[in-house]
């Protein structure tokens, strides 16, 4: 417990450094702006801005603080386009539109925005507090993980990914394998053997992480926007004078707490981020409500639950990333990749070896959440202006940002073609209902997965039974099995009783 408080104190020292403090605020502000743009969610925002943040040459803790600020800022901002436009910025904000937009149409736009800001704040803060206590405990447990335990952990991560994300488990699994395959391109670090490079010098060192992220998220998003071609501006609802009251807050306080709790724990599960968390929280709230008839027509509970959950899951997803080196969501996979670019390997040792990064990040999230609440209540009108940026200008801007980012870091024109090709590939994956988050998870984890497997088998001299020797790994394999089997069984039982299936998150 003492370690937590002394860690937090050292973290605040980092986060309150004037420059880092400025980055927290700048990141939150930029994140909210990006999140408020229709159609652009946290993952695209972080992807597009990652190379630029990297190119600025900050210290790793400063860069990660900035990127994390953009991440949860965008989770906040996403609700603005959901409520006022009925256009969710990403899959995690879909549930917010269900009751948020009807509230705005009923003339309660101001109330919906302020209520969701407070729900987001509670969810986010709840998650950071739990993270401060859970993180170090999990890290000190995971320090004893052997390579074979890591292999089991990875299997569990991909199992929960396949079972909980996307509409088709086989497609999700395949998406993850595609990511792993992309990661296997390049020179094998252990033996120096080139794999799948076909003699092309540009990919000897492997495909650059930045290129994959920008291509699959930034460029694919761009192609998607052109496909939708919303010419001109979308019609936004006006923000009115209504505001959330203490009575409203008292009415939804348990909803917010339940949503935060659900969001945090779903966020921790590897691979399952805001989209699953908000869907589960919404479904649970609807089932728990005594009178659920108004859900979908502007019920405050239906707005508060998913908003609290998706911000809590953003915090929850950071826990496995920081402590195990296994990202809890697509966006944290990008953050993990960002840390790797700085030669920082997140994992159980990070709390001891690089406390300024681990604790600095956690402390910055406390500050960021408060800052977001403060800038979101009065400035919501300013952010709502972002919704009126004409699409025909926003779309080219995304391409320009992507090009600046890739070129300024790598300075290789070859990579510009690469992001375009990956963008086309990513767009096809999206159109065919593959989710992209597993691809990036697979890509980030590919090296780690292979290294641990090879290390484990080196230890055992090629005997595969080492994978099943420790209790940690056996339990993880059982959990992996459960996470696949339970949803299938529950689904069957529901169907046989003739109930609706619970809302499955789009990814």
């Amino acid at each position: 417990m003492d370690a937590v408080f002394s860690g937090l104190a050292s973290g605040f020292e980092v986060a309150l450094d004037p420059f880092n403090l400025f980055l927290v605020l700048a990141g939150c502000f930029a994140g909210t702006l990006i999140g408020a743009l229709p159609g652009i969610g946290p993952i695209n925002g972080v992807a597009i801005l990652l190379p630029i943040a990297y190119g600025l040459g900050f210290k790793p803790e400063s860069a990660i603080i900035l990127l994390a600020g953009i991440y949860y800022g965008a989770e906040y901002g996403g609700r603005i386009s959901s409520i006022l436009l009925n256009v969710p910025g990403d899959a995690g904000a879909v549930m917010t539109t269900l009751d948020g937009n009807p509230m705005a149409r009923n003339g309660e736009a101001g109330k919906a925005l302020s209520l969701s800001a407070i729900a987001s704040f509670v969810g986010g803060t709840f998650a950071v507090v739990l993270m401060s206590f859970f993180g170090p405990a999990l890290a000190s447990y995971a320090i004893h993980f052997s390579p074979s335990d890591y292999v089991a952990l990875m299997v569990f991560a991909f199992a929960s990914l396949a079972s909980l994300v996307g509409s088709n488990p086989v497609k999700t699994l395949l998406a993850a394998v595609i990511g792993l395959m992309l990661a296997s391109i390049g020179i094998d670090a252990n033996t120096g053997v080139a794999r799948f490079t076909f003699g092309i010098p540009d990919i000897l060192a492997g495909i650059d992480f930045l290129v994959v992220v920008i291509g699959l998220f930034g460029m694919a998003e761009l192609i998607h926007l052109v496909e939708q071609q919303a010419a001109g501006t979308l019609k936004t609802l006006k923000i009115d004078k209504s505001f959330v009251t203490m009575k409203d807050l008292a009415f939804v306080k348990w909803t917010i707490l339940r949503g935060s709790m659900i969001g945090f724990f779903i966020g921790i599960l590897p691979g399952t981020g805001a989209s699953v968390a908000s869907a589960v929280a919404y479904g649970a709230e609807k089932r728990a409500a005594r009178d659920s008839s108004k859900f979908g027509e502007g019920d405050m509970r239906g707005l508060a639950a998913p908003e609290a959950a998706n911000n809590a899951s953003a915090g929850g997803a950071m826990v496995p990333m920081l402590t195990l080196g296994i990202p809890g969501s697509g966006t944290t996979a990008i953050l993990l990749g960002a840390l790797l670019l700085f030669n920082v390997t997140p994992g159980p040792l990070m709390f001891q070896q690089r406390p300024e990064i681990a604790w600095g990040l956690i402390a910055s999230m406390y500050i960021g959440n408060v800052a977001l609440l403060i800038i979101n209540l009065p400035l919501v009108g300013l952010f709502a202006r972002m919704l009126t940026i004409p699409q025909q200008f926003l779309t080219p801007l995304i391409a320009v940002l992507a090009f600046i980012g890739v070129y300024s870091v790598v300075s290789n024109p070859h990579d510009l073609y690469m992001i375009t090709l990956l963008g086309v590939f990513g767009w096809f994956l999206r159109k065919l209902q593959f989710s992209l988050a597993p691809v990036i998870l697979g890509f980030v984890l590919g090296g780690l997965f292979e290294d641990n497997l090879r290390r484990a088998l080196s230890i055992s001299g090629g005997d595969w039974s080492i994978l099943l020797t420790s209790w940690n790994s056996v339990i993880l394999y059982i959990l992996a099995l459960l996470v696949i089997v339970v949803p299938i069984v529950v689904g069957r039982m529901r169907r046989s009783r003739g109930e609706d299936e619970s809302p499955k998150a789009p990814a």
Binding site: T191, V226, Q229, S411, T420, K431, L432, S458, G462
Partner: protein
């Protein structure tokens, strides 16, 4: 159908990947029991059944896009390749100006706002990035700005 075509292409790639993993990749001296070839073999052997499953039970019948949309997307990809091609030789300012003009006009912007927007992004973007943020962007033919 769309699913099947895409899965078919993926299948060809995955089979190629697996064949290479089984035949070409080989370490001159085996340092560890698995070597560089086992991991890609495992991946290939997981990917192929997944793709076969999708081939057998596709769930997206067609992309459902009208021909006009396909034309627009093709134009976008051409523009992006053009932008990539010209980015370094012409320099950021001119290439960005041309790309922004082309794309915003295609998306239905009026001529004058598009001109103002494209010139603004090109010039302001260049100086913001190179002078203020100290990022590396190509000056291209406008060598005086280097």
């Amino acid at each position: 159908m769309a699913d099947r075509i895409f899965a078919g292409v993926l299948l060809v790639v995955a089979i190629g990947y697996t064949i290479i993993a089984f035949t070409v990749i080989h370490a001159p001296f085996q340092y560890d029991p698995l070597g560089p070839e086992s991991w890609p073999r495992i991946l290939g052997l997981v990917a192929i059944p997944c793709i076969l499953f999708i081939l057998a039970r596709p769930d997206v019948a067609s992309l459902g896009l009208p021909a006009k949309t396909w034309g627009r997307l093709a134009a976008l990809v051409v523009m992006l390749f053009g932008y990539s091609y010209l980015f370094q030789p012409l320099g950021f300012i001119i290439a960005t100006f041309a790309f922004c003009m082309a794309l915003s006009l295609m998306l239905g912007a009026k001529l004058v706002p598009a001109l103002a927007f494209s010139a603004g992004i090109g010039v302001v973007g260049y100086f913001l990035c190179t002078k203020l943020l100290e990022l590396n962007l190509p000056a291209g033919v406008l060598t005086i700005f280097r």
